[in-house]
Amino acid sequence: MTPETILTAAEIAEIQAELAHYPSPSAASIEALKVVQKHRGWVADEPLKAVASLLNMSPEDLDAVATFYNLIFRKPVGRTVIYCCNSVSCWMLEADVVRERLSERLGIGFGETTPDGAYTLLPIVCLGACDHAPVVMVGERLCHDVRPAQIDAVFADDVGPASTASAR
């Protein structure tokens, strides 16, 4: 099977465009995976193999990249992905309890998706906002200084822009 039978023309064109920015095809791994994820929501085995052959890599080499990064999904995810930071600053400020509250409220654990396909809960390494630990990212929205008692605020639709959102 050739990449053409698996990837769409649009995906291939976008990947080719990324390739032009790098000295070697494998350097475009992440960008190429992001293209597929943008179109499909996640990266399944067959598209991954197709991308690997476009980049002249073995599927192993590309999958090593794909599985290393939390932001590339190798399984289907919900419409909104909630990332719960569990690195050291957040951990010291009760990130575990935040995660427990989130799990209770959503009825799912890390790596799981709610039955209605709305939310997926994932752990993530330091989000770079340690001074506002504990931190949770909902889709592309960063929630900082999250208090376990007020976990509903994380889901509030009326929170402001990412940089100022606060669940306090």
């Binding site: 085995d45 073995s58 192993e60 080499d61 999958d63 290393f68």
Partner: protein, 898 residues
């Protein structure tokens, strides 16, 4: 040397190394995982912690990783410092949080580096009470088992498999506690060095699947030092037996040869020894007879004036015994005439030309490599692995300029990225090393030879010139000659694989031209087909074709065929006619093969695992191998059958045959030094083949006889089939297994037997090099340069192709290897296939027989040639014809001629 202080004691260590290697070389024990002498340091596991002090006033120090610390004059460290001891125990404890407690059912147990290191750090009590992370295991093919839960994430496997051996289907997935070492999906690990994962992985993640099928603990195996029989490289191995079954083969470290690694053919090919259809009883016209009867028949046949056909896979001793029995004038080589011609050239060049035949360690040191007409990766895999390392020398040189030590593995690779040193591959078809080559040129065999001769001329004008070369080839010749001239350590590699004698001559010519320019012998490595091809040639046999011809005239009353299948070495028709004209044929062999069906008398002999003798590898190194077990049924050493039939010789043991051979053949005079004689003793005892921990000695055969059987005597060697004696202090050539107190794993315990970790074995690496370069010989140039061959319509020039799995007959019988053997086929260039009307299969005229074979399109095939895989089961018999007429095979009725 520099002076360092360890726990207050001064020591001298070689400058430039890392501290871990230096400490181990001093004989001190320091736990480690991620470091490996052949792979260098990455500082990943944090296990090798020591305390490093600024100066003699510093009593606190800081924790440092020994493998990442360069040794320098005045370096002060504490191995036993409490901070270091505690740190190391903590690391093991962390590693063990996820490690299952399954030692009793783990096949690594008893030779596990993780067990050893855990005991060494004193971590004997588990505090962790949490869940352990678990993984799904993969099916990795017939050779390797996968149990990922045992992984400690040291990264050795991927560093070996990818960085060292060039495999790309093993990777690290995910991150943190979840890291997973495996393939993208289930399937055989494709790299032909995958078996080394079994020894490289310090835990039981990767284990030998063939061993698993009939598992025995390391300490219960009966083992002996041996030499691989599956190609001409001669890697050192340790076969292990229990209950009459050969259980496995592992690497036996040799500093100059295979180092720490074997290829998968060598490791897993042993299965042929256990095949149920082995020849085990003497047979007369298909009926079993006694040993005495067999011996009597062999005497009769000899008396009639038999000729002898020697074997490229039998020992020197067996071949010499046959030569003595029939007389040197009646001794022939059991290999194809084309191979004979090439081997004859190789023998002459090594013996009398000013060229050097390098060891694999020297190959690894080459800075410019030219491969001429040989698919080394498939014909001599371990040599190809050494060439792969040689292509890294430019990286190491670049690193050295920045003062990065060669053992700083991650830094060197980061610096050099994919930069590879000059490797030129001039080949008759695609080869396994092409991916590493700066230049790949594919031509017909004659044109490759012509190109080679042109390179020799470009290096040294006194070498004959080649006329009528294309402009492109002239440029190739010049640029390759330039690169070779600039090299400090140039290396030419060639061999018998192409079937074109002129290629071997051209390779010798290039090396000789280089030697003259450099005024010192240049290196040339020749790949020979089998484990003792060169040894056989040193006994000066006549070519097989002569034997076949003389039988035509009816003058051959009988023939004794030693461990070879004539149907592989000559045309079926010629062999048939030979066998029918010869009065009587005796075959000595261990496995069924075509000649066995035709011989009137078949005498069973032992395989490498059951017999003893000496092989000469392609380098010209004579190496002794020893029996790990006794032969089945009535089988015995070939030499013994032949010696017993001899009317005058009264050889009782191997040493006598070895001695007689050395005395009779001047070039083999030193073969007696390949290993100590059978009367060698330590404290009056022989060297034990069994470990001091062997279990069940009195029970193993109690179901047959309650009395413990008397250990079998071995009159041929200084090894005994017992547990009594000192295996630890044995000289390297007699070391039956590698074990030292606290070090149970094969790969790591060997450090206790090396001069310096990763260096030569103490007392010298075993074996005797038979050829040293003739310093001033004016070698006569080869002057017969082949003409370019123009393709004739409808006739294809054949080009042999090789497969690691399948092209070698003995390993192809091993059950696990069978799964990896390709189906028979022939290969054509896509344009030629198009001209044939895109056939799926073709009909060939093979020595007069009509054969139909599937055809593959392969754009590495030179147009006008047809690639014919050698030796694959199911391929037509006999050496590949030089040309083939072929046409598209039609499913029904007549073919379409082209």
């Amino acid at each position: 040397m520099v002076g360092i202080v360890v726990d207050g004691e001064p020591h001298e260590v070689p400058a430039g190394g890392n501290l871990l290697q230096s400490l181990l070389s001093l004989g001190l024990d320091l736990p480690y995982f991620c470091w490996h002498p052949a792979l260098g340091s990455v500082g990943a596991c944090r296990q090798c912690a020591v305390v490093q002090y600024r100066d003699e006033n510093d009593v606190t120090g800081r924790v440092a990783m020994a493998c990442m610390t360069p040794v320098a004059e005045g370096l002060r460290i504490g191995l036993k410092a409490p901070a270091a001891v505690e740190f190391r125990a903590g690391i093991i404890e962390l590693l063990m949080t996820n490690h299952p407690h399954d030692c009793p059912v783990c096949e690594e147990g008893g030779e596990c580096h993780l067990q050893d290191m855990t005991v060494m750090t004193g971590h004997t009590f588990r505090q962790y009470r949490g869940l352990k992370r678990t993984h799904r295991n993969q099916y990795l093919g017939p050779f390797i088992n996968h149990e990922m839960n045992r992984c400690i994430a040291c990264y050795r496997c991927v560093r070996f498999y990818r960085d060292y051996a060039g495999g790309d289907d093993l990777q690290v997935f995910a991150s943190r506690n979840q890291v997973y070492f495996g393939r993208f999906e289930d399937g055989a690990l494709e790299n032909e060095f995958s078996g080394n994962l079994v020894e490289v992985c310090p835990t039981g993640v990767f284990t030998d699947r063939t061993f698993s099928a009939h598992f025995t603990r390391k300490w219960d195996l009966q083992t002996a030092p041996s030499v691989c029989v599956h190609c001409g490289v001669g890697c050192n191995t340790t076969p292990g037996e229990r209950y009459g079954t050969l259980k496995r083969v592992i690497n036996r470290y040799h500093g100059d040869l295979n180092g720490y690694f074997l290829c998968d053919r060598g490791r897993f090919g042993y299965g042929f020894v256990n095949c149920a259809d082995r020849l085990t009883e003497p047979m007369l016209h298909g009926q079993p007879v006694t040993r005495a009867e067999g011996r009597a028949r062999l005497r009769d046949v000899t008396f009639k004036g038999a000729i002898g056909i020697g074997s490229p896979r039998a020992s020197l001793e067996a071949n010499f015994a046959l030569r003595e029995l029939v007389g040197p004038e009646n001794f022939y080589a059991g290999c194809a005439d084309a191979d004979y011609a090439m081997l004859d050239t190789i023998r002459r060049v090594l013996a009398s030309w000013p060229v050097h035949s390098p060891s694999l360690r020297e190959v690894e040191g080459a800075d410019v490599v030219l491969v001429l007409g040989e698919d080394v990766g498939n014909t001599a895999p371990r040599l190809a692995l050494a060439i792969r390392q040689a292509t890294r020398n430019c990286m190491l040189a670049a690193a050295a300029e920045l003062k990065i030590a060669p053992w700083q593995d991650a830094a060197v690779r980061e610096l050099a990225q994919q930069v590879r040193g000059p490797l030129f591959v001039l080949a008759t078809t695609g080869t396994r090393l092409d991916e590493l080559a700066e230049v790949v040129v594919r031509r017909t065999p004659a044109d490759i030879a012509r190109l080679g001769f042109a390179i020799a001329h470009a290096l040294e004008p006194a070498a004959p010139a080649v006329s009528g070369l294309s402009d492109e080839d002239r440029q190739h010749a010049e640029s390759i000659a330039e690169a070779l001239k600039r090299a400090d350590n140039p290396l030419v590699v060639s061999g018998t694989g192409s079937g074109e004698p002129a290629i071997v001559e051209a390779a010798a010519q290039i090396a000789c031209a280089l030697s003259r320019r450099r005024k010192q012998p240049a290196s040339v490595s020749f790949v020979v087909p089998e484990c003792n091809s060169l040894g056989l040639m040193l006994l000066d046999p006549k070519r097989l074709g002569k034997a076949l011809e003389s039988a035509e005239s009816g003058s051959v009353p009988a023939a004794i065929v030693l461990e070879s299948d004539l149907f592989r070495s000559a045309r079926t028709e010629a062999v048939e006619s030979f066998l029918s004209r010869v009065g009587e044929t005796v075959l000595l062999d261990h496995s069924p093969q075509a000649t066995a069906h035709r011989a009137q008398i078949v005498l069973p002999v032992g395989t490498f695992a059951e017999t003893e003798g000496t092989f000469v590898n392609g380098e010209g190194r004579a190496q002794r191998f020893f029996a790990a077990m006794s032969p089945r049924g009535a089988a015995m050493d070939s030499w013994r059958w032949l010696a017993e039939a001899h009317p005058r010789h009264d050889w009782q043991c191997l040493d006598e045959v070895t001695g007689a051979c050395a005395a009779a053949i001047p070039v083999l005079a030193r073969m007696v030094d390949a290993a100590p004689r059978a009367d060698f003793r330590i404290d009056g005892l022989k060297i034990p083949r069994q470990t001091h921990r062997r279990s069940g000695r009195t029970a193993a055969s109690a179901h047959i006889d309650i009395r413990e059987p008397q250990p079998q005597d071995d009159t041929d060697s200084a090894l005994a089939f017992t547990m009594e004696g000192d295996a630890f202090d044995a000289p390297a050539a007699l070391r039956t297994y590698s074990w030292a107190p606290s070090w149970n794993s094969n790969g790591q315990s060997i450090a206790k037997f090396q001069d310096e970790v990763g260096g030569a074995l103490r007392g010298g690496d075993p074996g005797v090099r038979l050829f040293e370069p003739v310093q001033r010989g004016a070698a006569p140039w080869f002057t017969e340069i082949p003409r370019a061959v123009a393709a004739e319509p409808g006739v294809w020039l054949t080009v042999p192709r090789y497969h690691v799995f399948g092209s070698e007959a003995l390993s192809a019988r091993a059950e696990s290897v069978v799964e990896r053997i390709p189906a028979p086929y022939v290969a054509l260039h896509p344009s030629d296939l198009a001209r044939l009307g895109h056939a799926d299969s073709v009909e060939l005229n093979w020595h007069g027989f009509r054969e139909v074979l599937p055809v593959l399109a392969d754009d590495t095939v030179v147009p006008g040639t047809i690639g014919v895989p050698v030796g694959l089961p199911g391929m037509p018999c006999g050496p590949c014809p030089r040309t083939l007429a072929l046409r598209k095979a039609e499913p029904h009725g007549s073919g379409v001629s082209t």
